[in-house]
């Protein structure tokens, strides 16, 4: 027996798993799309109330969070470039920076929300239930939409954490990086939603 080379068939289809990720992203887009639709109908009915409530939000914090998310979207895309170029150190660095940005976003969100909570403004609070319909609707949508978005940030962070350790363990490398690619797609989705949330919630004139 000589020259016996084992031929191992690898069952992998990166195109298919990427397509699967996109199909999931479609459902996410329609989930948030539905919420944006509810928002626009009520904003048409209560334009003055929505304007008044949006003044309660800090445009500065919103703008900082927008910049942070856009920047993190770039760094996660750069981690993909690094992996493709077989530069593990840079890939780890860029995933790390993305995670750091995500943490900054959540800390800002925490301060924003706890400020509202201190004024007695949270879903189901006494103040909330005594607001008139327009104000009540705005803040309900505000808490639900930004809350659901923040949940997506946490899920995205978890995925990127997993990718970080897999890159370190060398199970994600320049020949097999579809998990990082799909996690990056998810992270861009989070960014995409915020692109619409920011002007619609914070900048009403």
């Amino acid at each position: 027996m000589s020259q016996h080379t084992a031929h191992i068939e690898e069952h992998r289809d990166d195109e298919a798993s990427k397509l699967g990720m996109w199909l999931f992203i479609f459902t996410e887009l329609l989930l948030f799309g539905g919420l944006f639709l509810v928002y626009s109908i009520f904003r048409m009915q209560y334009p003055v109330e929505f304007r008044e409530c949006s003044l309660e939000l800090s445009v500065t914090i919103g703008a900082i969070n927008t910049v942070v998310l856009l920047f993190s979207s770039m760094t996660v895309a750069m981690s993909m470039t690094a992996i493709q170029k077989n530069d593990m150190k840079k890939a780890l660095l860029y995933i790390g920076v993305t995670l750091f940005c995500a943490a900054i976003f959540l800390v800002n969100k925490y301060f924003e929300w706890s400020g509202k909570f201190h004024h007695g403004l949270y879903p189901g609070s006494e103040l909330m239930t005594h607001l008139d319909r327009g104000h009540h609707l705005y803040f309900s949508l505000y808490f639900f939409m930004t809350g659901l978005h923040a949940l997506h940030i946490i899920i995205g962070m978890t995925l990127l954490f997993v990718c970080y350790f897999k890159v370190r363990k060398n199970t994600i490398h320049s020949q097999d990086y579809v998990l990082l690619e799909n996690s990056a797609l998810y992270w861009h989705l989070v960014d995409l939603i915020w692109i619409f949330l920011f002007p619609l919630m914070y900048l009403i004139s």
């Binding site: 996109w22 329609l30 539905g34 910049v67 895309a77 493709q84 990086y177 861009h188 995409l192 900048l203």
Partner: protein, 94 residues
């Protein structure tokens, strides 16, 4: 065997994309303080659409994906536009 066919986007091109997105964010914020009436919302939404197009095509590298995937993504947005249009027509005529 090359299973991955994803196009590699250079660092420089990614940072240029970010600069454009940051500029558009700046425009969105500065326009909000100018009183343009109903126009303000239209402009804000238009800029948001341009920004999301840039994110989809560059960061999510749809620009380099297969035609099938690009059509699928476009169809989702067409579907959403239809849902919005039909809902608004419903509200306008009830």
């Amino acid at each position: 065997m090359a299973n991955n066919t994803t196009h590699t986007i250079e660092y420089q091109s990614l940072s240029k994309t970010l600069l454009i997105l940051l500029f558009l964010t700046f425009v969105t914020i500065s326009i909000a303080s100018v009183q343009l009436g109903a126009f303000t919302l239209a402009v804000a939404l238009l800029i948001a659409c341009v920004k999301s197009f840039i994110v989809l095509s560059h960061f999510m590298h749809l620009k380099y994906e297969s035609l099938l995937l690009r059509i699928l993504v476009a169809m989702v947005f067409v579907l959403f536009a239809l849902i919005v249009a039909i809902t608004f027509i419903d509200y306008a005529f009830r």
